[in-house]
């Protein structure tokens, strides 16, 4: 099997749900039986996994973090990290058991059989070497030896995985390419030896949705063209649903459910699978209704601009926010969406007064907001902020109570200051944390608990407006729902006005009354959430929506996808 076969011209469009096991495929390429993995210290990590991979088909593994997905996949490819080892079971490639072979033989066999794609393209490539040199390393010996042949082959590979201006890219260093391009390079490396199986561990998790879609499309295309068996590992059920024909659901190192993707996801037998599905925010739920059009304007920005100097290129500046107009009315929940780097965070920072911006005007509660940062913050005291990463947003040396009390002590009214302990207790109640957690420090809390602390702190000064930057993206899927639920409830209870930033459209759909789409710092469109999501006006918005994984499953019978409890749910 070589690339010399004619390649289909042009980009492949996203295929529908992956094909099921191909009846002609014959015996499985890779067959895993009763795979057990344990640390060298003896702690069992994976207990008895069975798995079959056939040529031209994708098998997905899903499961919570820590369920053993990565270990299983790496064990199959013979790439377990130091400190863990296969302790039982059988891994057969083409019917030959690799576990009983000598290490050298096994390595040779595995090397020719598997190509591997890791999660984070930013660190998957050696920063010290050019793309060309790293690709050349991956080539079969015959190609690698001759410089000219290696060069030609590398070029072919890069072009095959859709890297434009490949010749130039061969001389580039990884840090000079975008994440998507780097991941394509990694994939090119993976297929360089004409493997028969591609193992992709969270291969797109670190990428933007639109890029994610392209990379997954590429994997699908390669699978079909090269008749690869693909083992796709993801915690994102949406991705698996779109791409895998067969799915294996893992929990705590064991397989809890398996079967055709459609069957398993449509009719999950296990509670665990159901819970996984339930935790996925959905794009097809109705959004909360917005306030009346004459609701008072709390926060308004006109023509907001923010430039950043570009590191290393003096004179050139990057316009992160480019003349954005934004209006936040009382009772509104405005979602800001866009790809990574589109300027969402920067915009939020201007609105909360921590970044003065480079142009435009900001008004809050009817008055202009001007001056340096401290002055702005005084004017914007009733606007508070919820950070993306709750761990980094809390001083590790302060107890929970101290963190929550800090804004009151520093900026509270005399009244508020007089009864700090009481306020802290109330706030802990509000965010549904036990009061005795007040004495703990952040590292003694779970991610969800930490984010609740951050929210409590933001509420300490009884703000009118809460700006939340990716409030759940750092959290495990299973706890995201709880925090979103809390945000929705608080909004209803306290008449809060929200500005919610998220790259996850589903989060916005469930939580926001209105939505603003940003692209490269420029506003693309703005309007009520339902309108934008059902009838996007801009092509960009449409593409963004299309790229969301799991679209193939949206619109399935609602009873199998119980909606996440929302604000109507106390």
């Amino acid at each position: 099997m070589t690339l010399s076969r004619p390649l289909p011209a042009g980009p492949g469009t996203a295929p529908g749900p992956g094909p099921g096991p191909d009846p002609d495929a014959g015996p499985p390429l890779v067959s895993v039986r009763g795979l057990r993995i344990a640390t060298t210290g003896g702690t069992p990590l994976v207990h008895g996994v069975d798995l079959d991979l056939v040529a031209g088909a994708t098998v997905g593994i899903v499961g919570e973090s820590g369920s053993g997905k990565t270990l299983t996949a790496m064990a199959v490819a013979g790439l377990l990290p130091r400190g863990v080892a296969v302790t039982g079971g059988r891994i057969a490639v083409d019917g030959r058991d690799v576990t009983v072979r000598s290490p050298a033989e096994r390595r040779a066999l595995l090397r020719d059989t598997f190509g591997v794609v890791f999660q984070n393209p930013a660190v998957s490539l050696n920063p010290r070497l050019t793309i060309g040199r790293q690709l050349r390393e991956a080539l079969p010996d015959a190609d690698r030896r001759s410089r000219a042949r290696a060069w030609r082959r590398s070029l072919e590979l890069l072009e095959h995985v859709g890297v434009p201006r490949a010749a130039q890219r061969l001389r580039a260093y990884p840090h000079e390419l975008s994440g998507g391009l780097n991941q394509r390079v990694v994939i090119a490396t993976a297929i360089a030896r004409d493997p028969r199986v591609l193992v992709a561990d969270e291969a797109t998790t670190a990428l933007d949705v639109s890029v994610q879609q392209q990379v997954l499309d590429l994997l699908d295309r390669l699978r079909d063209e090269l008749r690869l068996g693909v083992l796709l590992v993801s915690h994102d059920i949406g991705v698996i649903a779109d791409r895998a024909g067969q799915v294996v659901v893992m929990q705590d190192g064991a397989v809890v459910e398996r079967g055709g993707t459609g069957a398993v996801l449509d009719r999950p037998r296990e509670g665990y699978t159901r819970r996984l599905l339930a935790a996925v925010p959905r794009l097809d739920v109705p959004s909360p209704a917005g306030p009346p059009a004459d609701a008072p304007v709390l926060l308004a920005g006109r023509g907001l601009v923010r430039d950043f100097p570009v590191a290393g290129r003096r004179g050139t500046r990057l316009r992160a926010v480019d003349h954005v107009d934004i209006t936040l009315r009382a009772g509104q929940a405005l979602g800001v969406v866009g790809e990574s780097g589109s300027g969402k965070t920067t915009l939020a920072r201007i609105l909360v007064g921590i970044d003065p911006g480079h142009g435009g005007t900001l008004t809050a509660f009817g008055g202009p907001v001007t001056g340096r940062v401290p002055a702005r913050r005084r004017l914007l005291r009733r606007v508070q902020y919820v950070f993306q990463d709750p761990y980094a947003a809390l001083d590790p040396r302060q107890t929970v109570a101290e963190s929550i009390a800090e804004p009151i002590e520093l900026a509270g009214t005399r009244d508020q200051r007089d009864r700090v302990p009481g306020r802290v207790a109330e706030l802990l109640d509000d965010v549904q944390l036990a009061r005795d957690l007040g004495g703990r420090r952040p590292h003694e809390l779970s991610g969800g608990q930490r984010q609740r602390v951050v929210i409590a702190r933001a509420l300490a000064l009884e703000p009118d407006v809460l700006i939340a930057d990716e409030p759940v993206s750092a959290l495990d899927l299973s706890v995201q729902a709880g925090v979103l639920d809390l945000l929705a409830r608080l909004r209803a209870e306290r008449d809060l006005t929200y500005l919610v930033i998220s790259h996850d459209l589903a989060v916005v759909r469930g939580l926001c009354t209105d939505v603003l789409v940003l692209h490269d710092g420029v506003e693309i469109e703005q309007g009520p959430t339902d309108d934008v999501f059902t009838a996007p006006a801009a092509g960009y918005t449409r593409r963004l929506l299309d790229a969301v994984p799991g679209r193939s499953r949206q619109g399935s019978p609602p009873e199998l996808h119980p909606a996440i409890p929302r604000k109507d749910n106390p």
Binding site: Q134, A148, H175, A192
Partner: protein, 336 residues
Amino acid sequence: MTAVLSPSGPPGPPAGAPPDPVRPARPRWPLSARYVLSRLLNAVLAVWAVLTIVFFAMHLTGNPASLLLPIDASEEEITRLTAALGFADPLPEQYLRFLGQVLTGEFPDSIRYGGDPVALVLERLPATLLLGTWGMIIGASLGLAAGAVAVFGRNRRLRRVPVSVLTALEAVPSFFLGIVLIAVFGIVLSVLPLRGAGTPAHLVLPALVIGLALAAPVARVFRTSLQEGTGAEHVRLAEAKGIGRARVVLRHIVVNALAPVLNVLGVQAGVVLGGAVVTEAVFGWPGVGQLATSAIDSRDFPVVLACVALIAIGFVLVNLLVDLAAAILDPRGGRR
């Protein structure tokens, strides 16, 4: 970073576009001219500042005239010599004159030796370079070896030993280490000369003293970056490529871990040069450090300034080279 790919999907090779030139990749020059220039400017500034500080430190505290005359010389003789040497002029005037001389490369003549102080220093330079280079070689080899053993050693307990030993030795001030080495190898065992220069045997102890001061930080940094490297994802990818273990270790772990080591060597160049002053004193090594100390002793201002300038230039140059090498090893730095 916004997606480089257009949202419409991966553009394959444009149909009919001229093929990319089929020419193998050549290594790229990793440093921008601007970067090198700004480093050079920094270097010049540093040297100027150093010279200025030392110039004033010296001139504010005395002049060499009274040392040049017999011990019972009279007041007016001293005054006359002071004037003749140009030390009677106002300090700013002396300073400007001095700067002018430095710019034209003509330091004022050495008071004690008479000749061009730069030539004097350059004469001593080979000895110091010899010592420094061997010190660096010994330090780097010991450090790299200990760092590597700490990471790749088989015996978990024993592999920590070399780094610990080096770290323990690091706490020993070089003058004392020198004395202990002299006591052990020179006096008790009588296998090496106690002091002086001339034969390779003379070089062993002083180079060892300098090397041992360097080895520990090198070992620690190398160990840390090797440890980071062994767990790095790109190493796992390299392993997945199926290239041999040795090659992965060398190319993707070891060489990657060298950039921080180089930085340490650059920072420690100061230690080497400063250590040279002490080490040369302990071992009577005829290098720049010794010249500087004796010039200070005899208030031979031009020679002191030339020594200091050369040491500063040496340090700055070493760091420039280190930067350059480190930038080649890690293309992410150095381009700014």
